[in-house]
């Protein structure tokens, strides 16, 4: 029994990641009807921004004296970094394709995904390249800047797995024999807080209203005086920020990040979004938690190698029973 509860908590933790990433998928899908394949990589970029921040904070000793503030700054950096990346990607790679078939945008998204992964990997190389720009004998940057550029780029990216400084440890609380670590509690709490905030934003603010209008019908919305481009940018900003938060959570919880970390969670989260009913915000949350739980439950009955098989099989059966996702989404009506 104790083991089952531990597994359920574990499933909820993993589900929190999926749900947060799935929200970005579903929001973008809602306004643009496109599958943003680069979303997993925006999640990765967020994790790297967070990693850079917390590494600096723990080097200077700030993280030890003010752990709570350090965590907040890390989340903020991850969210902001991912959000700006997301908005830039939308502006440069997706907006020129808005009138094209939605599968064309898919290719652009895959190109973006390759680009982001490789960019983060190559950041130190670019850093040393920029720092060594010179005309004749004269470098264009002073020596102190040059070493700073090299140092910053090396701390930020690179091909190696990056270690997140552990700030929460493995301690936790015990509830009747079941131990839950603080980092798990933090992750579930952060996920729920942001999901509630997002729900309130979409439901009760002017921006949320505009977003819903745009996802209903872009042209009519623009006739009603809504600046569609601005709403789409805001959607990318919010969706990417949530992914960045998930990325930082991943780093804090698993203590390591790498450039390819976005792929698997990205695919799983996309699956979760579709199962919940793509385009549907509560659906994405539900789908995320369901997928997380499906994974841990399957391990109870079958060897762990069949985990993903069972998870996918459950999803397929669910979709066969309910062809437009659990809460009903819009994904079925779009032509290719």
């Amino acid at each position: 029994m104790q083991k089952i509860i531990e597994q359920l908590i574990n499933g909820l933790t993993v589900g929190s990641f999926y749900a947060l990433i799935a929200l970005g998928y579903t929001m973008v899908y809602g306004v643009l009807s496109m599958i943003n394949f680069a979303h997993g990589d925006i999640f990765m970029v967020g994790a790297y921004f967070g990693c850079f921040t917390i590494t600096q904070l723990s080097k200077s000793g700030f993280a030890e004296s003010n752990p709570a503030l350090a965590i907040i700054y890390t989340f903020a950096a991850g969210a902001l970094g991912a959000a700006l990346t997301g908005v830039t990607v939308e502006r440069l790679a997706y907006r020129p394709l808005r009138k094209a078939s939605r599968l064309s945008t898919l290719i652009s998204a895959i190109g973006t995904s390759i680009f982001l992964e490789e960019f983060v990997r190559l950041v130190p190389k670019f850093g040393s390249m920029i720092s060594s720009i010179h005309f004749g004998e004269q470098y264009i940057f002073p020596a102190s800047w040059r070493s700073a550029i090299v140092k910053v780029t090396q701390t930020f990216g690179g091909a190696m797995v990056k270690a997140y400084p552990g700030i929460l440890g493995t301690e936790g609380i015990k509830l009747g024999g079941v131990s839950i670590s603080y980092s798990r509690i933090l992750i579930m709490a952060v996920a729920i807080v942001f999901m509630v905030l997002l729900y309130l934003l979409v439901r009760f603010t002017k921006l949320g209203k505009a977003m819903r209008a745009v996802s209903e019908d872009k042209e009519t919305a623009s006739l009603m005086g809504i600046n569609v481009n601005r709403i789409i940018s805001s959607t990318f900003f919010i969706g990417s920020a949530l992914a960045g938060i998930a990325g930082v959570m991943m780093g804090i919880f698993y203590l390591q990040i790498r450039t390819t970390m976005g792929f698997t969670p990205g695919i799983k989260a996309f699956t979760a979004a579709v199962v919940g009913g793509i385009g549907n915000i509560p659906g994405a949350m539900l789908g995320g938690y369901l997928l997380g739980l499906a994974e841990v439950i399957s391990v109870q009955f079958l060897p762990a190698v069949y985990k993903d098989i069972v998870a996918f099989a459950i999803l397929i059966v669910m979709l066969i029973v309910k062809p437009t996702g659990i809460l009903g989404g819009s994904g079925g009506k779009n032509k290719l």
Partner: protein, 414 residues
């Protein structure tokens, strides 16, 4: 209508294929002309049945390196490229011809690796290839290298089939999976005296191969394997596997896989209260990506690796390497040795013909590698008939603080 169409299309496919293949039968002119050319140039040496590499004056001798230079495993591939680069710098010129390293990005996959093999084989100035880095690449790429008689020395492909095919051009300077498994089992069972073992692997050709070998050998030695579980590469949450594998309460866990997942696994094992021994293969021997990434949980973990550090010349190598590229990660030193073996053998058999070309007979080159033992920075390297090392030494390392300390050295006559 559609049924008939199907039937007709089946028939036509079959017939057209026969016709297409029967009609066009290009003669293998390329091979024959090449052989003729070679016979012309080889005026001094004994005729070589594999042909000759002929490099005109002013051209550069190319040393190929096949490894992952982009995407997920780029850190290791770059490490190998750096090792080979240092080797070329140390070696200097080959009888007056400059030597350059050319990196081929095989992404640790089959199809790109085969393309890299074709690319290298098509290069007339290529003397030999270091790599491929991964077994899954080496196995299909090997056929291309064998077909073109290109010398290939891999410092890191540990799967048994790499040398089992008996290709005369293929060499390996690393212990195969079987030997690493044997060392792990001996250390766990005889030295540490542990009798129960749980095994986790990453379902890759490398990780699962070594994990299955450990299982067989541990059981043969009289121990009990309490569980064998697989995880998926790229996943981050292994707590389900962790709780399953810890149910039987094994005294040690063997991990078959790479550092990234290894660090996550040891971390999650410790968090779940596991206090036994964690043991892994060469894939986790790395400070930054395993020990640091595990955030303290890797303390006391064991791993096997080909002997590095004790052999002569290692310190000079290390100085040159760190000056340019930072610390070597894993296969940099092995890559250095592989490159050195190729270049030394080339120096031994190369001649300059009457037209001033550098001529390297291919078969003689491979034979020279096989015949002459080489004292490298990873140990004494001497090959057997299949291209595997005659004597392999494997060191067991233990993570202690920020260091990997060698705790026992094994020597094997293969």
């Amino acid at each position: 209508m559609s049924k008939r169409l199907f039937f007709v299309s089946f028939l036509t496919i079959a017939m057209l294929l026969f016709a297409a293949c029967g009609g066009k039968a290009p003669a293998e002119e390329a091979v024959s002309t090449e052989a003729a050319d070679a016979a012309d140039t080889a005026d001094s040496a004994v005729e070589d049945e594999w042909g000759y590499i002929t490099i005109p004056a002013g051209e550069k001798v190319v040393l190929g390196l096949s490894s992952a230079l982009s995407a997920g495993y780029a850190a290791y591939g770059q490490d190998m490229l750096n090792g080979a680069t240092v080797a070329v710098q140390t070696f200097g010129d080959l009888n007056g011809w400059e030597v350059v390293v050319e990196g081929g990005d095989d992404q640790c996959e089959g199809a790109p690796g085969v393309t890299v093999a074709e690319q290298f084989s098509a290069n007339p100035y290529l003397v030999g290839v270091v790599g491929p880095m991964c077994s899954g690449t080496a196995i299909p790429a090997m056929d291309i290298y064998a077909e073109n008689h290109v010398l290939m020395i891999t410092p890191s492909s540990t799967a048994i089939p790499v040398t089992a095919a008996g290709n005369q051009n293929v060499f390996r300077i690393v212990a195969n999976d079987d030997l690493q498994a044997q060392v792990a089992v001996d250390y766990l069972f005889n030295v540490l005296g542990l009798t129960t073992l749980g095994i986790v692997h990453d379902q890759s050709i490398y990780g699962q191969g070594i994990a299955e070998a450990v299982k067989a050998k541990f059981e043969a030695a009289g121990g009990t394997v309490t569980g064998l579980e697989g995880i998926t590469r790229g996943d981050t949450d292994f707590s389900a596997v962790v709780s399953t594998i810890l149910e039987a309460n094994p005294a040690a866990i063997y991990w078959g896989g790479m550092d990234a997942e290894g660090a996550l696994l040891v971390n999650q094992l410790r968090a779940a209260g596991f206090e036994g021994v964690f043991f892994g293969p060469d894939g986790i021997k790395s400070i930054p990506s395993f020990v640091d990434a595990a955030g303290g949980a890797a303390e006391g973990a064991y791993m096997t690796f080909g002997a590095v550090g004790g052999a002569t010349g290692y310190d000079e190598f290390l100085t040159k390497f760190t000056e340019q590229f930072g610390d070597p990660i894993a296969y940099g030193p092995g890559s250095y040795d592989a490159a050195m073996i190729i270049l030394n053998a080339a120096k031994a058999v190369a001649t300059v013909d009457s037209d001033g070309n550098l001529v390297i007979p291919k078969k003689a080159l491979a034979d020279a590698v096989r015949a002459a033992p080489y004292d490298g920075i990873t140990g004494h390297l001497e090959f057997d008939e299949n291209g595997d090392l005659k004597v392999v030494s494997i060191t067991v390392f233990q993570a202690q603080g920020e260091e990997l300390v060698p705790v026992k050295v094994y020597d094997f006559g293969q």
